[in-house]
């Protein structure tokens, strides 16, 4: 029994070392050349909105990172060439949010909690 456990151990340790070295090396060399950055406006009012908008954007194909700024309503996206802003806008719309490119899906908007009813006069908070 002993030897069965011994072997994966050595392997695991080696893998960990390799994993670590590879990551730290590639972290420095990674310039993400093919990536594109786009930004457009999405209208929301609070931190819950931020969580939903960013998560909806991340659901869209090719998106690697999304950041929405509450104060300026700007959504910034970085992604692979597959990323498409209309698809992102659609995903955001389905989550109930109105953007520069698309109205919010009415049903989804209606389901948003009271704090996030941005089209009914709720102020940023």
């Amino acid at each position: 029994m002993k030897s069965i456990y011994k072997i994966p151990h050595t392997i695991i340790l080696t893998l960990l070392m390799l994993f670590g070295t590879a990551l730290s090396l590639s972290a420095q060399s990674d310039q993400s050349k093919g990536n594109q950055t786009i930004s457009f406006k999405v209208y929301g009012v609070c931190d819950d909105c931020k969580e939903r908008i960013e998560s909806a954007a991340m659901d869209s194909k090719g998106v690697k990172k999304a950041e929405w700024d509450k104060q300026s309503n700007v959504l910034v996206l970085v992604g692979s060439p597959k990323m498409d802003k209309m698809k992102v806008a659609k995903s955001v719309s389905k989550a109930g949010y109105h953007s520069e490119y698309m109205e919010a899906d009415e049903k989804a908007f209606a389901k948003l909690p009271g704090c996030c009813q941005y089209e009914d006069g709720v102020e940023k908070h």
Binding site: S32, T37, K64, S72, K94, A95, L112
Partner: protein, 754 residues
């Protein structure tokens, strides 16, 4: 018109995730008037020099701009009447840009980042690992001792098969060498040692900070391997109400409550409650003994919080009351001739602590603090034929003054402390009573010349009524050559008074004859027949590397720690299987640990955590020379995967996580002098445990979880030596190295009101 010069000053916060992986830059642009007031500037054009992508500031002076690889790293700020200026931007930075007439300094800045559920602080000179609430949710049950399931630093195990006591290990050594504090007040200690970890319900915990190696001198001299600090939910907490229920396959049921109220802008209070019970007896391995004790735990706490920003006075008061009842041993339905082997452990505890502080309004670096604590703990234990009663009364005071030498690069904390302990123990009719009266003083200097380097040097001196003068120095160094790499080193000493009965209580569940110290010898007045104070030096080094790869962040940490004892009270189970002798160390005792840990978001929303630990702990046992410390796994490995589904839709989301945990071989005390049937192997096999949990989040208010522990149903066998005849000289239920109960399903819910 007077010509205005433009000066732009920037103060960088800490950019967390480096290497150009940030995708935006934000900040605020202000104008400093002659009278010194700062006015936000609207309509300032902000653009990237390289790509000309631009934005303008709003009426609050705020701007937010996307930052792609094509934008370069130079931002230009332009406003009519001012000379435009360029600012070189570091990723992830929050900029404060001030247009003004004269050169001077700038102000503070905050930087946001995605929080990992377990993270290692980059600024702290001590290697502090923070376990957040999100991480604690991954291990749904039940109390502090079970909160380390997804943590590689702290190991948890049962110590015996009948009392259900939990033992933690850190850096290859028992949890008694770790300072366990609640809100920085020393908590689980003294006779609370075997069960104290169970007394903090998991649902009450806000976060846990684990720091390895010699701690700060401010919290006392007892920490040797590190500190585990628990922050309990506070009166100023975000949640107004938390209700948590839990039920598992062994019929353990649990209910937790937290509720808070703000009585005035300055005063708030919180109420915490916990009740848990396991009413039914389980004996899955059919050895006639319950796999875990039945019983109940009821505890209530009340917290007060006072904050006055104007006067600078702040205070906290906490009171906790606890009642713990446990019964275990042989199940009722036995057809034996002799009486049943039963255990019964009752504990009652009241705990109160307060903090009072004052921050000098005009000098934020200057503060006075005081901490006060009172604990009364009583425990009655009947474990087979062993009767052990204990009572402890503690008083604790710590008074701190914090200030600077010259400027904030040179900070110091100094103060006085006082500790009083009164122990009354009776073991098998023999009384062991003693008092500890320990006044002390400490001084800790922190040198922070810049963001890259920190030095903390501390020393404390205490006078113990039994052991005399105790001097403990500690040193911490931190060096961060880049924003994502940190090297740390620490060294220091720690001391503690051994409590041989409380600490080794689990081994009372055996037929062993106990000998503590050298009975009859009274050449010194040390308690427990001359046991000396335990003293150890600890030193360690670590390196932590943060990285981002394809816009997903990760972390790699490696550390090595060495603890060496100069004095130690050793519980020796090897002399014979019928004896337990606790004596003073004569020779070497040390523990080395090497740990490597990696975390990375491998796929969108899928986090991977891998850790491996090697441990080597050796003790010079009496007449046997250097041998491996018992029940210390030579290695540990664990891998944890956790996934959160999209948060985009209001209808809720899922969280799932799975952990595989390997525990390496452990040395088992010698049993070769027993008859063949009652002998154990000299080592336990290594074994794997698999746990998994699924949580359905219905809304911000309500979630339900279901999980299973020990999926492969791995069990130690045999658990008890000579379970047939518990009053024979061979009976021993204290030699535990693995799980006893096997696979266990559980369900629970959380209801939160913000």
């Amino acid at each position: 018109m007077k010509t205005r010069s433009v000066l732009i000053a920037i103060l960088l916060g800490v950019a967390w995730i480096g290497y150009g992986q940030s995708i935006s830059v934000k900040g605020v642009v202000m104008e400093e008037r002659k009278n010194g007031s700062l006015i936000p500037m609207e309509f300032v054009t902000v653009y990237w020099q390289k790509s000309s992508t631009n934005t303008t500031t709003d009426s609050t002076g705020y701007f937010f701009i996307a930052h792609g690889p094509e934008d370069g790293d130079v931002l230009i700020f332009q406003f009519l009447g001012y000379t435009p200026d360029t600012v070189k931007v570091e990723p992830g930075q929050y900029l404060s840009v001030v247009f003004k007439e004269q050169a001077s300094q700038l102000d503070e800045v905050v930087v946001g980042y995605r929080k990992r559920t377990t993270e290692i602080s980059f600024l702290d000179p001590l290697q502090v690992q923070n376990i957040s609430k999100d991480e604690l949710f991954k291990a749904a049950c039940c109390n502090l001792s079970e909160s380390f399931e997804t943590n590689a630093t702290v190991d948890v195990s049962f110590t015996d098969a009948v009392t259900g006591a939990k033992q933690i290990q850190m850096l290859g050594l028992s949890g008694k060498y770790t300072l366990i504090s609640q809100e920085q007040i020393p908590g689980v200690r003294g006779i609370a040692n075997p069960f104290g970890m169970v007394y903090t319900p998991g649902a009450w915990i806000e976060s846990i900070q684990i720091s390895k190696g010699a701690g700060s001198v401010v919290q006392g001299y007892e920490s040797m391997t590190g500190q585990i600090n628990v922050e309990v939910k506070k009166p100023a907490d975000e949640d107004k109400l938390l209700l948590n229920g839990y039920f598992n396959e062994s019929t353990r049921a649990e209910l937790n409550l937290f509720s808070r109220a703000k009585l005035s802008p300055m005063l708030s209070t919180a109420f915490l409650g916990h009740y848990s019970a396991r009413p039914t007896e389980h004996d899955r391995n059919n050895d006639s003994f319950m796999d875990m004790p039945t019983g109940s735990l009821l505890t209530l706490a009340n917290k007060w919080d006072y904050h006055n920003n104007k006067s600078g006075v702040e205070g906290q008061l906490n009171v906790q009351w606890l009642q713990d009842r446990k019964e275990g041993g042989q199940t009722d339905h036995q057809e034996h001739h002799h009486p049943l082997y039963r255990t019964k452990i009752d504990a009652d505890r009241i705990d109160a602590y307060a903090k009072l502080g004052y921050v000098f309004a005009d000098k934020r670096y200057n503060s006075l603090g005081s901490q006060w604590g009172f604990t009364r703990h009583t425990q009655q234990a009947t474990i087979g034929n062993n009767e052990y009663d204990a009572a402890q009364t503690s008083l604790y005071g710590n008074w701190l003054y914090q200030s600077i030498f010259g400027d904030t690069r040179h900070k110091y904390v100094t103060g006085l402390s006082f500790r009083y302990e009164d122990y009354d123990e009776t073991f098998r009719g023999t009384k062991y009573d003693f008092e500890e009266i320990v006044p002390g003083a400490f001084f800790e200097y922190t040198y922070v010349p810049d963001d890259r380097f920190t030095l903390v040097a501390g020393i404390r001196s205490d006078h113990h009524n039994l052991y005399g003068w105790l001097i403990n120095p500690r040193l911490h160094l931190r060096y961060a050559p880049s924003e994502s790499t940190v090297f740390r080193a620490s060294a220091g000493s720690g001391m503690r008074t051994p409590l041989p009965f409380a600490e080794n209580l689990g081994w009372m569940a055996s037929s062993r004859e106990w000998t503590v110290g050298k009975p009859g010898q009274t050449q010194n007045n040390y308690p427990y027949n001359g046991l000396e104070m335990e003293k150890a030096w600890n030193m360690g080094v670590s390196v932590t590397q943060e990285f981002t790869l394809d816009y997903r962040s990760g972390l790699l940490a490696v550390d090595f720690f060495h603890t060496r004892f100069t004095d130690r009270a050793i519980p020796d189970l090897d002399i014979s299987p019928q004896q337990l002798v606790v004596y003073n160390l004569d020779g070497n005792a040390y523990a080395n640990t090497f740990q490597i840990e990696a975390q990375y978001e491998v796929l969108k929303r899928l986090d991977l955590k891998v850790a491996y630990k090697l441990q080597d702990a050796q003790i010079a046992y009496q007449d046997k020379g250097l041998r491996r410390q018992i029940f210390t796994p030579e290695s540990r490995f664990f891998v944890n995967l956790s996934y959160i589904s999209s948060l985009a839709l209001y209808k809720g989301h899922w969280r799932i996580n799975a952990t595989a945990h390997y525990t390496g071989q452990q040395r088992i005390p010698d049993t070769y002098t027993n008859p063949e049937d009652f002998q154990l192997k000299s080592q336990s096999p290594g074994y794997w445990l698999f746990n998994s949990q699924l949580t359905r989040v219905f809304s911000k208010q309500f979630e339900v979880y279901i999980g299973v522990e020990n999926i492969a149903n791995y069990k130690q066998a045999p658990v008890i030596i000579d379970a047939e005849d518990p009053f024979s000289p061979y009976f021993d239920s204290g030699l535990i190295w693995g799980p006893i109960f096997g696979r266990e399903w559980y369900v629970g819910f959380r209801y939160m009101l913000k």
